[in-house]
């Protein structure tokens, strides 16, 4: 596959951090920018974490900070899982760098224009920045080739019985994206919970030798305990999976479906309502990823992490 321009919109976040470490080693990705948003922790912290991971990976993309709260709701966070610092409490230096004054949504639009319709948005946090960009720039949908997101679920949830964190954190922004006309590829819990990495496999990555591989292992140590308590075989690589999907969809099962986000339900706020086979057919505005070949995916993750010296 030839190289294509992307913006990674994220809220690092331990699995965001892992995704950013992998992204640096993917030759298919021309990373034009990383944009940050409030999500797992506040935006000041997710921005600091993006800087930390950029320094750790030796990358040089620009980082633009975005929204510090959802469009219409109060902010929720996931520091219980990601740690107060959002990176599971890893001892890793904080770079003393300034970031550009340009806001994430302005950068998204400017870069989209520069890319002549080829830009792929990889969004692995709450979708607030994209919601604001869509609100401000009405021609944005024509400028974006597609959006690959980590969020939602056709069945089940993780913050409520039927809502996943990224979508629940800003359901209105998510629905704006689904209604925008941009083709959305949704990697939700249906597939990401299948992309777990066992403690042994994680140790294997950590033992590859590089400082980056060690960091990849370390950020997950805190979350891993919770996954094992929940009876899972290991921590789920939510964000790395969505990132990988953007470059190679051949190891996944994808369906063309209708998806909208419930923004008014009492119990179902933030549910990604997915029309796989109901009598009332929704407009097919999205693609849902339902399955992955976990072994091959893990192998690819391992190969990418081996590229660090």
């Amino acid at each position: 596959m030839k190289c294509f321009p992307v913006i990674i919109d994220c809220d690092p976040g331990v699995d965001d951090a892992a995704a950013l470490l992998l992204a640096k080693q993917m030759p298919e990705l021309d990373i034009r920018a990383v944009t940050t948003v409030a999500g797992n922790v506040g935006v000041d912290q997710t921005t600091v974490n993006a800087l930390r991971i950029r320094a750790a990976s030796g990358a040089a993309y620009p980082i633009f900070a975005g929204a510090d709260k959802p469009l219409f709701r109060e902010r929720i966070d996931a520091s219980a899982f990601h740690g107060e610092d959002g990176l599971g409490g890893v001892a890793y230096p904080v770079p003393k760098e300034e970031i550009p004054a340009e806001k994430a949504w302005d950068a998204i639009y400017r870069i989209a224009k520069e890319c002549n319709g080829e830009l792929v948005l990889i969004a692995i946090g709450p979708l607030t920045n994209i919601g604001i960009a869509l609100a401000k720039y009405k021609e944005l949908p024509q400028l974006v080739k597609k959006a690959v997101i980590m969020g939602g679920a056709a069945v089940g949830g993780n913050v409520t019985p039927c809502a996943e964190f990224n979508i629940y954190a800003d359901p209105h922004a998510a629905d704006m994206l689904f209604c925008s006309g941009i083709p959305v590829y949704m990697c939700g819990l249906d597939v990401t919970m299948k992309a777990f990495v066992t403690p042994e496999e994680l140790d294997e990555i950590g033992a590859l030798g590089s400082s980056q591989a060690k960091l990849f292992r370390e950020v997950f140590q805190m979350g891993q305990k919770k996954y094992l308590e929940w009876g899972m075989k290991g921590v789920a690589l939510h964000d790395p999976l969505a990132l990988y999907y953007a470059v190679d969809d051949s190891i996944f099962e994808t369906h063309h479906v209708g998806i909208r986000v419930e923004t008014k339900g009492a119990l179902t706020l933030g549910k990604t309502v997915t029309d796989l086979y109901s009598d009332k057919q929704m407009e097919h505005n999205a693609y849902i990823v339902m399955d992955v070949n976990r072994e091959v995916f893990l192998q690819k993750v391992m190969e990418l992490m081996k590229k660090y010296d």
Binding site: E262, G265, S278, K280
Partner: protein, 314 residues
Amino acid sequence: MKKIPIILDGDPGHDDAIAWVLAAASPELDIRAITSSCGNQTIEKTTYNAQRICTLLHLCVPVAKGRVRPLVSEPMNAPSVHGESGLDGPILPEPDFDLEEMDAVTLMEKIIRKSDEPITIVSTGPLTNVAALLLAHPELKSKIAHISFMGGGVQYGNWTPAAEFNILVDPEAADVVFRSGIPITMAGLDVTEKALIFPEDFERIRTLDNPVAAIVAEWLEFFYLFHRNLGYKGAPLHDAVAVAVLVKPELMESQELFVQVETIGDFCKGATVADFRSILKVSPNAKVLMGIDRQGFVDLLVERIAKYGKERRT
């Protein structure tokens, strides 16, 4: 064998009708009353259908008419599935008995109150009558052993992407039932979409060569034609699952889950929301059927429908 005393509440409806055919031919069950609900068609039509079915089956139990509309929501029907009569297809005998003068909720109340043993309610339509009973007579909850109903789906819907028809018609009623504390068995789309009756199964029923079997085969054929256009390989016999689970529970796979009903929302009204990952940390309130031994289910139907040739039930 000790029989389970039941009240059948439904909105016939092809699959309600076959559910009742199964119930009436099952010695494990003792049908104490039948009540109609509005859903697949208007209450007038479903009540008339209930009478015609009882006449066909020579089933002599009190039959009462249910509420004319859902508790709160606007009424809706499903003529696209069941036809204008609510039970289109074969010609049925005209009713040969009168309805009870009392309404469905009063009949249910009376039957439950006078029974020495707790009653099981089998509901195969919207839960309007059952909820009205629970709201009006909470003191009778202890005399209701179990509510087995067809409705909902913990994964997907059918009438909308998130909601199944019976729950969508009266979500507030379903909410009352899930909160009631009474043991609940939910035969939702998770299992009923697997309870498919294939054309070769209709033929097995048709060759039983009794008047009820002939009509059941025609109902199945009518029901299948609608579903075939949606891409089904057979007729999903939704409502009969809520009866079959009482007669032969070993045919079913189930999961104990905490389930709530969404009553508002742009897309999710009528969704039955299950807490798969125990996020809410509350005890399950429903046995949710998730799988069925399809062949065993078909064999049960065939075996029970065959009885209509041998004995005339009174």
